[in-house]
């Protein structure tokens, strides 16, 4: 019916519209009775209808339109922000029906940052908040303020909250609790209003009405947890009184939250809290309260053994509750709050924790994993990682990958700070790659390459692991593993000198199933082949030269080393025994290889002319097929390899006899040239390397490049053309081969298969069919859940407590860069910090005024009458900064009230500090004693270097300065 009437009125709503308006019920019914798939149509029709009706001058029509819109926006997620103005239009209505709808629509459509009509509502809100308007109206206004107030709105309306908050208005407003909650919003949005609102809020704490107390306590809990809690420290007696008086669990939970923040700041408060907390822990039957007590003890009173003991017992009860997964989950959460000093607590319940790894709830499993990984130290990383990686084989795919993730991040943390035995870790990476569920290829790839670059001593093992991965044809079909294989191929190409059997490596790299790999990975494979060829020839030549030299009559070592000065020592070692002189050789490529390598390479087959020829033929056969590959990367690299082989073949003498080979040194030159290309060691690159490059003079980076767009447009078709051109021009005499290669390919393939029968399944017919190659490492039998958890319990045999282990092997050098770079904080946190500072600073001011004590420098000193202590206000929470460049100890020595949260934000604070330096200087003479200790501490910090960046330093102790 609405459709018929709307055709005549396209845009302006008419009386007809309002008469025949669909009600909300109609709309809901039509949406619910819709046919499948018509929902978008119905929704857009309804929206069009609303858009028309909402402009009606009739408040009823407008209200119903708004109501329909709020329905659609909250149930169907339609955007309602466009209607903010219409909601505003309806706010002044005197009917509660309309007003409620208008406020509801406003709270859903107002976004404090984006809605520009919010200021228009100020007047109406003020009117509704005034004591003369009915409490229902004020309540609505308070709700809107609590949900979508902007800082400006908070500032303008703060005075209007006062009558509602005040205890003196008689009778006390029934809206006082709501007003208290809104006052909290106003305070956090706009610190300017603190002087106005803070005192009434404090007064609420002593109200006889528990609702008011509850609201006020809730507000303070929010304030204390969102910013710096130290300003609220001297309200502690007040909170303590409420704690003693109140019997409401709702209030107690909020109070405990406040105390959890305050207790670390003030040891005496913590001491006084122990008794009431233990009392609550023992007596309360409400699990929520018990849990909050546990959290308070763990975060606020970790040094009070009696309380911690009791709390840990409660947590064990939680963990043991078989029928309540919530308690098990929360128990694990609570345990993870305890730091390393309390690892005995985890130790005690380790059986429950490890059993949780097999819990039916994935969230509990994840939490248990997180807890276990938090307990990893360099002494037990070995056992825990191995057990977890083995357990991952049996668990479901998602959790298996969570485990792998956890192990990878923990072990890779801070440039592998936990890892001592890299050989072990590298082989662990290999095992992870073989997990059938593994989808973490990228991270494993990154770590394999990264370790190769950073840890020289791990390379032989790395090459061994890479070889095992490469040689297994079953891994090639798994798309998640191709990244790992790419890393393995790169590693074995780059560090081929550690490979025992380069020929076997070549066969692995060229096995037919590599066709399953994505082109970029194939390109890496082919490049690795290239490196292997160069290495083999280089070794071969060295071999010849040395045997020649020794046949010349074992000339002096000096002479020998001068001839082969630029040759690879490692290569030389694999040929002849007894050439000890060479060890003093300082070759370019491998001069500083550890001596242990030599022994491992002795059993390597020396290259012979035959083996090299065989290798070349093998490579040529396999790579020839790729010279016409569609993928540019593969094609280009394949042609590079073919070009090299071609070049080597063109030198006639190398085939004839070995003597002539030395005389005609062309091949030696070629190989040397290529070898020197690859011999330069690749190192890790600093994250900030790019930033350190100075901008060349005259280069304008900010210049607008838009006017160059036409060049791009013209070049659009060029790339593919140019690439094929350049390739062809570089290959000499290849075109003939290209033409026939496709014809040959089938026969070559057959030949290849004959030779590498081992890589094929007997029944295999087609390359494409091989995609469903069975995984070689499928778990044999899916172990039952019970078995799994039994296995897990075995983990408990290993202690999770850190213990000192003597490492048989010194930790190898790990190249690190970016020391100190990691401490950069985002500007976002800095901004937040400054806001927090404003708020807590403002609150300090208010408290100062309240105490009525004079102070020399406003907001710097706070005389706490109860405890006679001076705390530094504006600098509180500042930690010892770890930034290396700032060596000015003068302004470092503060101490701070040691909130742990501020640790990672210390950078944000630096900028607030400068105006205070003068004041600090005045104080210096008071602090001589503390300074020396800080000196010491800073030294320690520097020695431990960036290991500290992630580890939270111990909370500094509060210092008493009696004035």
């Amino acid at each position: 019916m609405a459709g018929g009437s709307s055709s005549s009125t396209a845009s302006t709503p008419s009386l007809v519209d309002s008469l025949f308006q669909r009600s909300l019920d109609d709309l809901i019914k039509s949406l619910r009775s819709q046919l499948a798939g018509t929902e978008p149509v119905l929704l857009s029709r309804a929206l069009a209808e609303i858009r028309r009706e909402i402009r009606s001058s009739d408040p009823d029509t407008k209200a119903i339109a708004l109501q329909k819109l709020t329905y659609l926006s909250s149930l169907y997620g339609l955007d309602a922000s466009w209607a903010a103005f219409h909601a505003l239009e309806l706010l002044p209505s005197s009917s509660l029906l309309h007003k409620r709808l208008a406020y509801l629509a406003a709270s859903l459509s107002f976004h404090p940052s984006t809605t520009d009509v919010i200021p228009l509502s100020t007047h109406q809100l003020r009117k509704d908040l005034s004591p003369s308007s009915p409490p229902h109206f004020s309540s609505l206004a308070l709700h809107l303020l609590s949900l979508s107030a902007s800082p400006d709105l908070a500032r303008h309306l703060a005075p209007d909250l006062l009558p509602l908050l005040s205890p003196r208005s008689s009778p006390p407003s029934p809206l006082r609790p709501k007003a208290a909650a809104v006052a909290l919003r106003a305070l956090s949005l706009c610190p300017d209003v603190v002087p106005l609102l803070f005192k009434p809020l404090v007064d609420c704490l002593s109200s006889p009405d528990p609702r008011v107390v509850s609201a006020a306590v809730g507000a303070f809990a929010e304030l204390a947890s969102s910013g710096d809690p130290s300003p609220y420290l001297h309200l502690a007696p007040e909170f303590y009184r409420v704690l003693a008086d109140s019997r409401s669990n709702w209030i107690l939970i909020k109070l405990l939250k406040i105390f959890a923040r305050l207790a670390p700041l003030e040891p005496r408060l913590a001491a006084r809290l122990v008794d009431p907390l233990c009392d609550l822990l023992r007596r309360s039957s409400a699990q929520s309260l018990v849990f909050e007590c546990v959290r308070t003890v763990f975060s606020g009173l970790p040094d009070h053994d009696r309380a911690v003991r009791l709390a840990v017992d409660k947590v064990r009860e939680f963990l043991a509750s078989a029928d309540d997964p919530n308690l098990r989950y929360l128990g694990l959460r609570a345990l993870s709050m305890l730091g390393p000093p309390h690892s005995w607590a985890v130790e005690e319940s380790r059986e429950a924790v490890t059993r949780s790894l097999a819990d039916p709830d994935p969230n509990i499993r994840r939490e248990a994993l997180r807890l276990i990984m938090g307990m990893v130290f360099d002494s037990n990383v070995f056992e825990i990682s191995i057990l977890l990686v083995n357990y991952a084989l049996k668990s479901d795919p998602i959790f298996a990958n969570d485990i792998l993730d956890a192990v990878l991040t923990t072990c890779g943390r801070n440039v592998y700070e936990l890892i001592v035995d890299f050989d072990w870790y590298v082989s662990l990476l290999g095992e992870m790659a073989r997990n059938p569920h593994c989808t973490r290829g990228e991270e494993i790839e990154r770590q394999l390459v990264d370790i190769g670059l950073r840890v020289r001593d791990a390379r032989p093992e790395l090459v061994r692991v890479a070889r095992d991965l490469l040689i297994d044809p079953a891994l090639l079909g798994n798309p998640f593993l191709c990244r790992i294989l790419s890393a393995a191929a790169w590693v074995s190409g780059e560090y081929v000198e550690f490979s025992r059997k380069p020929l076997e490596l070549v066969e692995a790299l060229l096995q037919p199933r590599t066709s399953l790999l994505p082109p970029l990975v194939r390109a890496v494979y082919i490049q690795a082949v290239f490196k292997v060829i160069v290495f083999c020839f280089n070794t071969y030549i060295d071999q010849l030269e040395i045997s020649q030299l020794s046949s010349l009559g074992n000339s002096t070592t000096g002479g020998a080393s001068s001839v082969i000065e630029s040759k690879s020592a490692a290569a030389a070692s694999c040929i002849a025994d007894g050439i000890t002189g060479i060890e003093s050789n300082d070759g370019i490529a491998t001069g500083d290889k550890p001596a242990s390598l030599f022994s491992s390479m002795e059993n390597k087959d020396p290259f012979t002319y035959e083996s090299l020829t065989k290798m070349l033929i093998l490579i040529e056969t396999a790579v020839d097929l790729l010279a016409e590959n569609d993928e540019v990367e593969v094609q280009e690299r394949a042609r590079n390899v073919l070009g090299l082989i071609h070049m080597l073949r063109e030198v006639p003498t190398w085939k004839t006899e070995e003597q002539g080979f030395i005389k005609d040194n062309r091949i030696g030159e070629i190989v040397n040239l290529l070898q020197s290309m690859f011999s330069e060691e690749l190192g890790p690159v600093s994250v900030n390397a790019q930033k350190r490059v100075p901008v060349p003079e005259g280069l304008v980076l900010e210049e607008n490049l838009a006017n160059l767009a036409w060049t791009l447009a013209e070049d659009d078709t060029a790339p593919s053309m140019s690439i094929s051109f350049s390739l062809r021009s570089h290959q000499h005499g290849e075109t003939k081969d290209d033409a026939v290669s496709s014809v040959q390919s089938t026969s070559l393939l057959a030949e290849h298969r004959k030779r590498h029968g081992l890589y094929y399944l007997p029944a295999e017919k087609d390359e494409t069919e091989s995609n469903d190659y069975p995984r070689a490492n499928d778990p044999l039998l899916p172990a039952s859940q019970g078995d799994a958890s039994e296995d897990l319990v075995r983990l408990t045999d290993q202690s999770m407590i850190p213990r000192k282990v003597k490492h048989s092997k010194p930790r190898p050098v790990v190249i690190k860069l970016d020391e100190g770079d990691a401490v950069l904080t985002s500007p976002l946190t800095a901004v937040k910090e400054s806001k927090d500072d404003l708020l807590s600073g403002a609150i300090h001011d208010v408290l100062l005024g309240k105490e009525g004590k004079p102070s020399s420098s406003q907001k710097r000193y706070l005389d706490k009458s109860s405890q006679r202590r001076v705390k530094d206000v504006s600098d509180n929470g500042e930690s010892i900064s770890l930034s290396k460049e700032n060596l000015d100890l003068g302004d470092k020595e503060h101490r701070s009230s040691g909130s742990r949260r501020s640790k990672h934000r210390s950078h944000g604070k630096e900028r607030h500090r400068s105006p205070q330096k003068n004041e600090e200087k005045e104080e210096k003479n008071h602090r001589n004693s503390t300074r020396s200790s800080h000196h010491h501490e800073r030294h320690k910090h520097r020695q431990r270097g960036e290991a500290l960046l992630n580890v939270a330093p111990q909370a500094p102790v509060i210092q008493d300065f009696l004035l």
């Binding site: 509660l96 609201a215 997964p325 929360l330």
Partner: protein, 132 residues
């Protein structure tokens, strides 16, 4: 968007699992009543068990108001559910722990609205008749 992702996450969870999920850095506490799910996103340091109790509190009040509440009650009276929620929570804090008080407040508002509505209806009827 939020609703779609969260419901996908929560609905797939079995009945005997815990009531907490983590989602994009938030903690979400949910509770299931027959076919109705109630979810609340909370801060990292909020007490999960307390939130469960708040949800239960809300549901009890809804139940009392609608008389064994069901999905349809909430769909057709979604704004009333909002009003009730407003009486229980403000700025994310529980402000009224007494079920009776909430019921009384809501009833008072409803009666006000009804009288207003009756008036409004009579006026619009008059207008409607006048324009015929």
């Amino acid at each position: 968007m939020v609703i779609r992702e969260l419901s996908g996450l929560i609905l797939t969870r079995g009945p005997k699992l815990c009531n907490f999920v983590e989602w994009k850095g938030y903690k979400v506490v949910y509770r299931r009543y027959a076919s109705l799910y109630f979810c609340m996103g909370i801060d990292a340091d909020d007490n999960e068990l307390e939130i469960l109790e708040i949800i239960h509190h809300f549901v009890e009040i809804l139940d009392r108001y609608f008389g064994s509440v069901c999905e349809l009650d909430l769909i057709f009276n979604f704004h009333k559910a909002y009003y009730i929620l407003d009486e229980i929570l403000i700025a994310g804090e529980l402000q009224e722990s007494s079920k009776k008080t909430v019921a009384r407040l809501i009833a008072a508002q409803d009666s006000l609205v009804e009288t207003a509505q009756e008036q409004a209806n009579s006026i619009s009827n008059m207008i409607a008749q006048a324009t015929k």
